[in-house]
């Protein structure tokens, strides 16, 4: 709440070290906005899953972190962009246990349950953009949000 709202930050996702950095940046951004520990942990975990998807399935890409303001509401938007092979069947990819790799198949479907909004924009051969939006929940009291 005390941190100023900055414009979006762009991080490249090309290695395991980048994933660690992306997690830290998302954690920091969410903490600055005043996310609760549970919501923050969920968001960071979601970011970790999606960033790894970008790296493993998309062959690398980038993450854009954007703080959002909508009246009194505050939130965070994370966009994971890659130019990889794309997802052939988004609905199938969103099914629990479905995996093309050797993972648990919980990445995309599980991530959707961790955040408020998740959209997948993918065209085969064109790459994939997964956008996550999470708004700050439960204001303690009506006017507590004002700086």
């Amino acid at each position: 709440m005390h941190a100023p709202l900055v414009s979006s930050t762009r991080l490249s996702l090309g290695s395991d070290a980048d994933l660690a950095r992306a997690r830290q940046q998302v954690r920091q951004a969410a903490a600055d906005l005043g996310f609760s520990l549970v919501q923050l942990t969920k968001l960071v975990t979601a970011a970790s899953e999606l960033a790894r998807n970008t790296l493993v399935h998309g062959g690398g890409g980038h993450l854009e972190i954007t703080p959002l303001t909508d009246g009194a509401r505050r939130g965070l938007r994370l966009a994971f962009v890659d130019a990889g092979p794309g997802i052939r069947d988004v609905d199938l990819a969103m099914t629990d246990g479905y995996t093309t790799g050797s993972g648990l198949g919980m990445g995309l479907s599980g991530t959707k349950r961790l955040v408020q909004e998740l959209t997948v924009d993918s065209r085969p051969g064109q790459g994939t953009t997964v956008t996550v939006t999470d708004w700050l929940r439960d204001l303690p009291s009506p006017r507590a949000g004002a700086p």
Partner: protein, 298 residues
Amino acid sequence: MQVAEHGTALDPAQWLSGFLQRRREQIAQRWADAALFRTVFTVSRDEAVEAGKVVVDALADVARSGRLEDLRAAGFESVRDLLGRMAAARARAGHSPAQITDQVAELREPAAALLRAEFEDPAGEDAHACLLALTLLTGTLRLVVMETSVSAGEDLIARQREQLLEMTTPVISLWEGIVAVPLIGTLDSARSQVVMESLLEAIVSRRARYAILDITGVPTVDSLVAQHLMKTVAAARLMGAECIVSGIRPAIAQTIVHLGIDLGTIITRTGLADALAYALAQQGIVVSPGPPAGTNPR
């Protein structure tokens, strides 16, 4: 000062070598005022001049060998260490390798000015050839500095990475037959491989029946981390040891449930103490408050 004679064939590299030796003092004096030397040797100017002379000598050596464009020329070996230290000092002051090499490039001009003064006809062919040789040589010096500073950084990163891998995976004996691994930080594939190896080794060497994986220090448990944990638990089970995962915080627990990961087959406890108590109880060991001093509580 003998000036190159017109009309005779002149070897620019050999001439340059001679020139550098003759003008050693003047060049070093001028370099001492250049940003690179001035900012590294802040204590005394004499020190900067001395360092400058060492670099001039090295360049003269390289020129004599005729390998103006060879990064591996023997002459550079003698200054690699000095240049490395200078580059490191600049890097600590927040300069990028590119900025440092730009400062190396600035060393060319003072030497070039002295070189031109050696020729009766500074625009003549010989002067031009020698100037070109000097430019090539300083260009190579620039690459040597770049290489030195980059490889120093890479060495440091590789060393720190290894240290980190070593440091973060101690296997602790808590009791006879009970070992624990406190996991800290990111649990990526490389780390979890090290954890698994050292844990399995410890299970054999310490005849452990119970292994506790404490994840208090792991900030994020996503599906990959969970998968690594499950594999480690499964491997330990094959070795005849039972694994207990401890240190699962409320936020992590909720996240795991929402993510849809089933850790039902793994024994979990909130804290390391609970995990230890469980392992002790399983072995029939009772820890009870005994007489105040000396005697074995068992």
